[in-house]
């Protein structure tokens, strides 16, 4: 039997442990779980006439993700517009990830193979865009690709084209914008992985009859894979929820999930649908991450 003193000391220790973890608990409760719980709750309520919610249990938010109610006979129909928005979001995010990898890998390789003193300079150039507001950067891209923008004016002046190429307010514009905005998020983890790569392994690969392409495929890529995984996640996740870029470069029509959610809380006045869409996006991202990390681990450790 523990003595009274021991029990008291134990209780005091427990109390102080709870006390010490209070700041962390407060942050978790109010900054992370709290808002999520509110969004989750709202998704099960009825929409109010002028926005906000009515406190009645209602699944129409969740149903509204995939179906729309016909205004005349009230039957449910599959919402093609919603599906095309989801598909565009996933497609553009995957393409953004692929483009940032295609551009980012050579860039990261270039930086990692400079003299150590020069690397800081190149990394500095990569991080400069972070200092500028996202909206301003996106408007700058708009300025480059719009019909009377830098690109079209130059091409016409050079005589390559006679009519401006319409890029602005298309999926291509959104893709260009997102690839530009998220490129540093791909380059930095790739750089970190390539920097750790032992360049002497290249010679070992060439020596053992591997062509340049096979050295890349069989030696470099598998070894820098953690960097590729990290970079892809860092690009794919914010791309999927992108809001500013599709808004500025995609115009009103080429919406992505982010814009669609915003629409529900704004003009759409359907907060439960917006909340349900937010939760769906969250779950999709989490599932995508799990699949991706699992696959990456499995391939990296065939015998582990």
């Amino acid at each position: 039997m523990p003595s009274d003193a021991e029990t008291k000391a134990e209780a005091a220790r427990t109390r102080s442990a709870w006390l010490l973890s209070t700041p962390a608990l407060i942050v978790l409760l109010f900054a992370a779980s709290g808002p999520l719980l509110i969004v989750l709750t709202y998704s099960f309520l009825a929409p109010g006439q002028y926005g906000n919610v009515v406190w009645d249990f209602d699944l129409s938010g969740w149903i509204g993700i995939l179906y729309t109610r016909d205004i005349f006979d009230g039957t449910l129909k599959l919402a093609d517009a919603h599906l095309s928005i989801f598909w565009r979001s996933v497609k553009l995010s995957l393409m953004t990830t692929a483009i940032t990898f295609a551009v980012g890998f050579p860039t990261a390789w270039f930086i990692a193979t400079r003299a150590p003193a020069q690397r800081a300079f190149w990394l500095f150039l990569i991080t400069i865009p972070f200092w500028t507001n996202l909206l301003i950067r996106t408007v700058a891209i708009n300025e480059v690709i719009r019909n009377e923008g830098l690109l079209n004016t130059s091409l016409i002046w050079l005589g390559v084209i006679s009519e401006p190429i319409r890029i602005i307010y298309t999926d291509t514009a959104v893709l260009i914008g997102m690839a530009y905005v998220y490129l540093p998020l791909m380059v930095l983890p790739l750089y970190a992985a390539i920097d750790r790569f032992d360049m002497r392994l290249l010679e070992a690969g060439y020596d053992l009859y591997a062509s340049r392409w096979r050295v890349l495929r069989r030696v470099i890529l598998p070894i820098v894979k953690p960097g590729i995984v990290a970079g892809s996640i860092l690009v794919f996740v914010p791309s999927l929820g992108a809001y500013v870029t599709p808004r500025v470069l995609g115009g009103g029509k080429n919406m992505m999930i982010g814009n669609f959610i915003e629409l529900q809380f704004g003009q759409g006045r359907n907060w439960p649908l917006g909340a349900a869409l937010s939760m769906t996006l969250l779950v999709v991202v989490m599932i995508a991450l799990l699949i991706y990390v699992r696959a990456a681990n499995k391939e990296g450790n065939p015998h582990g």
Partner: protein, 354 residues
Amino acid sequence: MNDMPIAVEARNAVKAFGQGAAAVRALDDVSVQIRQGEFFTLLGPSGCGKTTLLRLIAGFETPTSGQILLGGDDITHLPPNKRPVNTVFQSYALFPHLTVAQNIGFGLEMQNRPRAEIKETVARMLGLVQLEPMANRKTSQLSGGQQQRVALARALAPAPKVLLLDEPLSALDLKLRKEMQIELKRLQMETGITFIFVTHDQEEALTMSDRIAVMSAGHIQQVGAPRDIYTRPANRFVASFIGETNFLTGQSDGRQVVLGNGAALDLPTKQGAVSLAIRPEQVRLAATGTAGAMPARVASTVYFGTDTHVHLALSDSTKIVARQQIPSTGGMDLQNGDEVGVILPTDALQVLED
């Protein structure tokens, strides 16, 4: 061995790094022929050009001028992956994402050999380097000596015409190094593959090689069997780099050399100033006044277990080291300051070209 065909040849190979006046010639007009099935060692201090020569043969560098031939074919501009030559790297350079077996099979796989053949060869290689139980381990889980064996097996698996070894034992501790020296020699005998071995360790070179090329400052100073290199060094550099040597200078009239202390040695050479070298174990000690012995004083003695190094000063204060067997097996029991007679047998004296 002398009648074997030439496996590898460098013809007037020059490798310069840098541009114009700042260019450094790591290799300066080097020509050498290495025979098939030979254990050939490139020996020299760091920066002598031995690794550069190895990298020219592997294809990692292209010579500034000159040619590299493999079995009589000019391979000077062939990339490394097209040369039937494999390298054991100083750092081993094992692939960290692959298992031991996958590392060993890598070269065969890149040559697109059939799966069954790869499997069979990898198993045979694992047996050759005694690593069968480690086949499915990651290379990071192996000790230095085991990693070394994987590197060897990986380079031997594609059955290259020539195996290049770039100071492969330098990272191992002394005991393991001795074991691997024997192991390497055994592998070379069993496979019959030409080994070109780079080292700065003269003992390693002497014990393992069929022939040695001693290199310094981008030049080959001497090529020969270990015994030739040791007993008949071509010049002062070779004599001083391989083993311990006493250097003496004298004046020659063509038949006799008169040393600084006035002693005359019957040694036919060219007339004028000459440099002589003699190994410490060839220097004989005798009682003072013995016929043909020159007087010397014992400066210090250093005990080495199997023998004792006696540091002596001749009458003109030229310093000489003599290696004496311990007294019980025939050596003299000498104390510092003792007077002693020194005999330099003329057949053991080497006349050096400077």
